[in-house]
Symmetry: C2
Subunit: 328 residues, 2 copies
Amino acid sequence: MNTKIGILGYGNLGRGIECAVRQNKDMELMAVFTRREPKTVSIQTDGVAVCSAADIKNWQGKLDVIILCGGSATDLPVQTAHYAKYFNVVDSFDTHARIPEHFDRVDAAAREGAHTAIISAGWDPGMFSINRLYADAILPEGKDYTFWGRGVSQGHSDAIRRIEGVKNAKQYTIPVEEALEAVRAGKNPELSTRQKHTRECFVVLKEGASAVKVEKEIKTMPNYFADYNTTVHFISEEEFLRDHSEIPHGGCVIRSGVTGWEKEHKNIIEYRLKLDSNPEFTSSVLVACARAAHRLAADGQSGCKTLFDIPPAYLSAKSAQELRAGIL
Amino acid sequence: MNTKIGILGYGNLGRGIECAVRQNKDMELMAVFTRREPKTVSIQTDGVAVCSAADIKNWQGKLDVIILCGGSATDLPVQTAHYAKYFNVVDSFDTHARIPEHFDRVDAAAREGAHTAIISAGWDPGMFSINRLYADAILPEGKDYTFWGRGVSQGHSDAIRRIEGVKNAKQYTIPVEEALEAVRAGKNPELSTRQKHTRECFVVLKEGASAVKVEKEIKTMPNYFADYNTTVHFISEEEFLRDHSEIPHGGCVIRSGVTGWEKEHKNIIEYRLKLDSNPEFTSSVLVACARAAHRLAADGQSGCKTLFDIPPAYLSAKSAQELRAGIL
């Protein structure tokens, strides 16, 4: 069964969805909805409408799933519950601490509308979460580690850009290699924040700004940098545009646990991502979830779901027979 | 809800199940069933009955799930469908090519008995399969690789032991490091059998046997060794018992796929296992599947399932709320 997709919001994530839909033959992009003036937004797919977000309700019955591409700070807490009343929806809500309340709100709305909503899809939350769950279920006596990077943290880059004298900036989160090695060796170390990750910043200064002052302000910034070993590089705008225009990311989830009557055997499970494009990979997960949302809705399974609730086969374009014969 | 477990077959896998059940507070081992004389089988758990496999049907209503610990060659093709009529069952059937027919037979039997059967659980098939599925669903344009090892192949060790003049033997399957590196670097190489894995054999000879003859027989054995670079070490029985008594295994599943409008971004997904004990890890997966089988049965979802059909949360002892708050 083909899935007719709408995209709400056309930033990095929305553009990634457009690309991912194109890679899946059972998916069809029907419309992109924007809060900007539609005429000012040009998309890549020929013949697909760009519409005002205000008109989205006119599309009821014409879309199987809307993928919500707003931010977790202010957009999704409002949008997902709102649209779940009228459509099957998928979002990438990633404020971990607020997932339970977001879930409850979206669940109530989706049940009211008899629709299916999948929240917090992507890689963390998302694929990393699934792997934490499987590993915890298989090795109940063990210890979990999540490392992020090497990759761009949008939040930390934004924080640097808000400093006076900074023209542009990009921050890379980097796992500490010795910590990773100790975890992979099954040593189950206790690791402080500082021992797990370092932060590397590439900064373009405005004319006349003081590098010394900016560097100090970055390194002492509470929450963002103060608890980390941070390196700051000041570079030219040319170098910045040439070497730091991409949005790579990745990381790994590792569980180290014991088995055996005397707990004498160590077992290590690791899930690792190395992504040239964080938003495109996130989008690829969201599109697979849109397929699942469509199927769950067709089964009459309304309400809010996460990847924890979705049988893996629901994410795949392949039939159950093909999966058992070819992938199991 | 607690799950009352029966074990059929008390070899390496059965003993692993016994250990894994002990690590899960919501699991209770009720009985071990054996085709041997029960008095000759001594198990580790105090107060648990060892019973004749012939009496298993008397346990209907007293067990939530039976975990079938026989082999895939001759035991499971008969046992799983047979017992699925009377009990919820879990098996580790691992003959990939015969999974579809095994599924159909077990599905018919389980539906007839209104029970739930989960087949082909473990790590390959099992956790590796799930990771192949997720990665294929997320990155539809890409290439899959599965590497096994470093670990003991029981089948290859058996094949060596059948050679005249061999007293004992163990064979380790080892991924070729350069192949792994090329795959992890996103180079999508075409790899022959020989380029993916090497085989390392540790052999104890019977008195008077010819090392030259045995080595030649191993290295030229069709299917098992002829297509691989194989190393043979002849060692003493003492060394064999000291260094080669464990059954470690592991490996990795890697998918390398592209995203972006022009497919300009590479993304690598890797799932990796490093297991001190292959049978105990397999058992740990089977026990988590027993929990899922019990829950699916309670939902009225009878028939045959694989890990592809099971929402991840069903494998976990934690509640949906705990999972969303703590692991998502």
